[in-house]
Symmetry: C2
Subunit: 439 residues, 2 copies
């Protein structure tokens, strides 16, 4: 998917039929109770354990083909599914079974008038389409999250992981066969044409979840009317305020950049208040250099010892690597303005001991995550306590930020009456009470 | 907008600057407290009252021009803003001021570890873009909802209402000048080019709300990457079950079709269980005919006396008029399947005295509103008790159904630490507690 085709093909008749079968199975799945869905996840995990050897063998074949094709080592690392990794993924399926049921929660309960009662309850979305690159373990995670939340899933993995994904899906479906969930609630797409046509299945697919490169996400956003849960860019900032504790700020900055530089929640730009720059920057430059981080500074930062000069493009680049842009700002407001201009509204942090500056930053920075005195690397569904994550969204509307099971549900209004008609209220013969009832 | 241009122009430099000014003002507005925003709405209402004569005069000019241009009577009726209608709209602005503040609500509060506390709070979306046809009173309603929820708004009314909209916006801005909200938080677009280019203001506009014809909504959905709150179709159904109370079902059916046939929540198709068709249909045909409703039936319905035959296209047509398609179904499942195939997931109802059939319908019909023994005409923000409505959404993801102020807010995660870094947890030196804290 790294060089997307210019146009998205119409779905084939065969794809439409398969997607309709997923939808039918998903509608039945959505009617099942909590216990049935938990049991299905247990059966999926059991079946994965039973198919352990064939899954590992399929992955070996994928790895051999990838090596023969000269795939990049980073891609091969993501493709690799060894015993411990598979066991971890299976344990993950069992953990998702233990998460609280996201369905059937009553969010609103109002008596509109005597005998006319409105409620809003959570229900599954329907069918999610998931497009991911390389990592075959994503199939297990996403399938577990989808079934737990009552949704069908159409999955498309990278071509290089085709054998692994097929073996995993076969196991998952054989597990479902030992449950009340139909095996057709999960489907695997195998060709590139199918994965592109998936983007045109509005009415059959309710949400697209891309898990891959920025280019993949952007291509999908531009080529579908189906809502997309994800984010193209993760340009996160750490602002070191005049009133920061310098050693704490440096510890946070190093973690935010180096703990896992390829993650979307790693920082790309460090903003430093000019009043603390002379104190903070020299030891920071030393520590970052020791951690193999290449620094690129604005003129003021270079004046404090940053060796390379940043260009305009640096402020809007997601390096996903051991590179960090550094800028000295005149004050908090300049930091907020810089983040507003160049940030991707993912996660941005301030280090300060000044409560006024802290609250101003937390109120004014318009990102999904706004942090005080801690690393941006905490932006993650597991770390937030959601148990599992379908992705991180940088769109403005909810679901925003790290998205757990609740991103895979929506709600429905149910109104129960006793023959109530609108004309009685329009004529003023009856009146709404709008009395809140207990949830 | 009824014959949309094939391509959407790039925003002009002037439009970009105006939109950026709205965004800057909106960011400041988003920091204001509840009282400041309530006071601003009061000032807007006062200014509208002070400008009453000039607004009514501007509307008279629009009406004269519309008459000279030979506009359709229905359009002229929507365009007309007389004294009572204006007073009602001003009262509406004051009512929106009294609604509960949708901002700053804490939805989640978790201690991730000692000293590391996560919260999720509601915040404004930022800037909403509203495109509406004719009705100038919509300017007042939308502006009030936007300011109340801390959002800026870029408004584009129909060309035929240009003078009315300009007079209203001038009053609203003079009202804001007597408040802590900047007048630039509201902007009015006047040309067709600008309204099209609005669709390309991603990054400056967070949500598009179209209020107009199905063709307008569909065009907008197809031509913007900005999320769209609205619905193209409203194909609602009433299913009269075998166990329905025939006279109650007929009363509900008449209300759902005739109380306001142009509304999106009026029914377009009546589904009748074959076991009750011989009892229900003959008096229903008589009553609908007396109410000037044209009926179009499938062969079985025609066998019970419906005069005209329905074509395949009738099942997916939103008449918005006194026309109703009628189909006899073998059972509840056929009714559910018909709604799944032809419905627009807006609002669908069942009339039955059988609790099993009722619960099956309420669980299986995948629409924003699913009703039992009452008219689909209740699908409305005011009737649901939301106080005001920005629109009705038929998308699957929230906000879904009638959308009140909460559709104009999102949330943000705030994390406060004391120098916490992710590496400590990755190394197993610290552990997450994920302890829920009181909201």
């Amino acid at each position: 998917m790294s060089t997307p085709a210019p146009s998205v093909p119409e779905p084939s008749r065969e794809l439409l039929q398969r997607a309709a079968a997923v939808r039918r199975s998903a509608m039945a799945l959505g009617q099942l109770g909590d216990g049935d869905r938990q049991q299905a996840l247990g059966a999926m995990a059991d079946a994965l354990e039973a198919a352990r050897a064939s899954i590992l063998a399929a992955n070996q074949e994928d790895l051999a083909a990838a090596a023969a094709d000269g795939l990049a080592p980073a891609l091969i690392a993501r493709l690799k599914l060894d015993g411990p990794k598979l066991d971890g993924a299976i344990a993950g399926v069992r953990q998702v079974a233990e998460l609280a049921d996201p369905l059937g929660r009553r969010q609103l309960h109002t008596e509109l008038d005597r005998g006319l009662v409105l409620e809003r309850v959570t229900v599954p979305l329907g069918v999610v389409g998931v497009i991911f690159e390389a990592r075959p373990d994503a199939v297990m995670q996403i399938a577990a999250l989808a079934i737990r939340s009552g949704n069908g899933a159409i999955l498309k993995g990278g071509r290089e992981a085709a054998r692994s994904c097929a073996a995993i899906l076969e196991a998952l479906q054989s597990g479902l066969a030992a449950s009340r969930v139909e095996a057709e609630a999960l489907a695997l797409l195998t060709s590139r044409e199918e994965s592109l046509a998936l983007l045109k299945l509005d009415g059959l697919v309710d949400l697209i979840i891309p898990r891959g490169s920025n280019a993949l996400v952007r291509f999908i956003q531009d080529n579908t009317r189906i809502p997309v849960l994800g984010h193209a860019d993760g340009i996160c900032h750490l602002y070191v305020d005049a009133a920061a504790d310098p050693s704490e700020a440096l510890r946070v900055a190093l973690d935010a950049k180096t703990q896992y530089p390829a993650a979307c929640n790693a920082i790309e730009t460090l903003l430093v208040h000019e009043a603390i720059a002379a104190t903070f920057l020299p030891p920071a430059i030393e520590a970052f250099t020791a951690a193999s981080v290449e620094l690129r500074g604005d003129p003021a930062a270079c004046g404090h010892g940053v060796a390379a000069a940043a260009s305009e493009a640096d402020w809007s680049t997601e390096y996903s690597d051991l590179i960090l842009a550094v800028k000295v700002v005149a004050d908090l407001e300049e930091a907020i303005a810089h983040i507003g201009r160049y940030g991707s509204r993912h996660t941005d942090a301030i280090c300060t001991t000044d409560p006024v500056a802290a609250e101003r930053f937390l109120a004014a920075v318009d990102s999904a995550g706004v942090y005080l005195n801690c690393s941006t690397r905490f932006a993650d569904g597991f770390r937030y306590g959601f148990g599992a994550e379908v992705g991180i969204s940088t769109q403005t509307l909810p679901p925003r930020g790290p998205v757990g099971l609740e991103g895979l549900v929506t709600y429905r209004y149910r109104l129960r009456g006793e023959g109530h008609i609108a004309a009685d209220y329009a004529r003023g013969e009856r009146h709404f009470s709008h009395r809140p009832l207990p949830l």
